[in-house]
């Protein structure tokens, strides 16, 4: 008996994957040069899997605001929001976010993961029902588990399946919280929110939407898929992160519920953790103001999305969804995906490798995220790497045997 028995199969699985080239889950960026370039093992690599959708991580204004906050307010708050960790700029960020979403109030968390953990576990409890989309992120699963509510999973992006499962509930008068995401991070598909809102109204449920990958990208003012679908009035809670389009760290929830602010005294992941450091808050605030001021950033991103998608669609590869800033190439075999991932990195491009059970529907994915900061040349190089890989896969399938083991970047 060993505490580690429960993860006993992991080392062998991990070694098998790493033996095919590099360790895809232990890549180290030796140096990050810009929003779209890094040095990995001495070689320049284009970043096409960093969720840096608007390319704001090196925004000079955000860096300068963060530097000022660092100099004036110190390196950290050394306290939680309910003790000494609420600074004026935490409040300022919450006010700016509320104004951005046109809602009464927002709560800020140290990470997006904690935002879901903190919100779901505080909103739902024993006796309540949570109905969650099967493709929701791990932090939503964890928040549901932590809540103690009765949790039912419904088929991905299926309002009809949700409706059916709601009808089956024994205690129909209990509280019901429906949880979906705006843009799904693995396949890059968006939720049919207007139809979900209809089901929500029919069953008198609450609707909770995670816009982690869609804030700053969808909707006329960049609020997300909720805004684009025109269902803001039906959505009770919008959750998101600052670590993607806003290029920093942290998470939030926005709501119009009259008692929303009392969650500050009920949400354990909000109350019992140190608050965001002032420099992080300053960079987020600056980035948020920039995306409100410059809708052109979104236009640049979408231009790149379409250029990227059209180019990949012309290659003989299966794309998981319609064009979005997340473009996932689906490969049925895990081994094929690991080898393809290595070859793409050989060609100087970093994308994400995702394999089951971390992916929906048992397929393996080479997941790309498009950035507004990608140049046309970079998009060409990324797509060229995929073209090279598609050719290898064709050879692999034709031969019915393993392609040559990938060589290493910098080796």
């Amino acid at each position: 008996m060993d505490l580690f028995d429960k993860i006993a199969p992991l080392p062998a699985q991990h070694e098998q994957i790493a033996a095919m080239g590099r360790d895809p889950f232990g890549v180290c960026m030796d140096e990050v040069r810009s929003a779209t370039e890094a040095i990995i093992r001495g070689k320049k690599v284009i970043l096409a899997g960093s969720n840096n959708y608007l390319g704001l991580t090196f925004d000079p204004e955000s860096i300068s605001a963060a530097q000022n906050a660092l100099a004036r307010q110190g390196t950290g708050t050394t306290g939680s929001r309910i003790a000494n960790g609420t600074y004026a700029n935490h409040r300022e960020l919450e006010t700016e976010l509320a104004s951005f979403f046109g809602c009464k109030s927002t709560l800020v968390f140290p990470t997006g993961y904690q935002a879901n953990l903190g919100m779901i576990s505080a909103l739902a409890g024993p006796g309540d029902y949570i109905l969650m989309d099967a493709h929701c992120h791990a932090c939503i699963y964890d928040g549901c588990r932590m809540s103690g509510a009765t949790v039912i999973r419904f088929r991905h992006n299926s309002p009809a399946d949700l409706d059916k499962r709601l009808q089956r509930l024994k205690r129909s008068d209990s509280n019901k919280l429906i949880i979906v995401e705006g843009l799904y991070s693995m396949l890059g598909d968006i939720a049919p929110l207007a139809e979900f809102a209809e089901v929500k109204r029919k069953h008198n449920a609450y609707l909770y939407v995670d816009e982690a990958h869609s804030v700053g990208i969808y909707g006329q003012s960049g609020q997300g898929v909720v805004e684009q679908a025109g269902v803001s009035a039906d959505v009770d809670f919008i959750v998101g992160t600052f670590s993607k389009s806003l290029g920093s760290m942290g998470g939030f929830c926005a709501s119009n519920h009259p008692k929303f602010d009392y969650l500050r005294l009920a949400s354990r992941p909000y109350m019992f953790t140190a608050s965001l450091s002032p420099s992080v808050v300053a960079s987020v605030l600056t980035a948020l103001r920039r995306i409100r001021r410059e809708p052109e950033l979104r236009d640049s991103l979408w231009r790149n999305v379409h250029a990227f998608y059209d180019r990949l669609a012309a290659i003989d590869l299966t794309l998981a969804a319609a064009p979005s800033p997340v473009i996932a190439v689906m490969l049925p075999q895990r081994e094929e995906a690991v080898l393809a991932w290595n070859r793409i990195l050989d060609a100087g491009v970093y994308v994400n490798l995702a394999i089951p059970p971390g992916t929906p529907d048992t397929s393996s994915l080479l997941r790309c995220s498009v950035s507004a900061a990608h140049s046309q040349d970079q998009i060409e190089t990324i797509c060229g790497a995929f073209e090279y890989v598609a050719e290898s896969i064709r050879e692999y399938n034709a031969r019915g045997s393993n392609p040559r083991t990938a060589s290493h970047v910098g080796d």
């Binding site: 099967a134 039912i152 999973r153 499962r165």
Partner: protein, 83 residues
């Protein structure tokens, strides 16, 4: 009652077959995740199939009590009775 129980067991085995890629002989003692070597997400997908087949809810909270096919059969009975 016994016949009905056998029926549920056989139907559950039928639902499990697509997940049984190693062709394990299924019994009530078969460990769903362990013996069939199916991952945590596949188990959740299987539960959805069972829910639809019996028009019942099997909340995720109950999964920690379902290890074997026999456990799943018991859970189906319990949820169908509305307990």
């Amino acid at each position: 009652m016994r016949d009905e129980d056998d029926l549920v067991f056989h139907k559950t085995c039928t639902l499990l077959e697509p997940f049984n890629v190693r062709n394990v002989t299924l019994s009530r003692d078969t460990d769903i995740a362990g013996d069939l070597e199916i991952d945590s997400v596949a188990v959740l997908d299987l539960i959805m199939e069972v829910e639809d087949d019996y028009r019942i809810s099997i909340p995720m909270n109950m999964l920690s009590d379902i290890r074997t096919i026999g456990d799943l059969v018991q859970t189906i009975h319990k949820q169908a009775r509305g307990a």
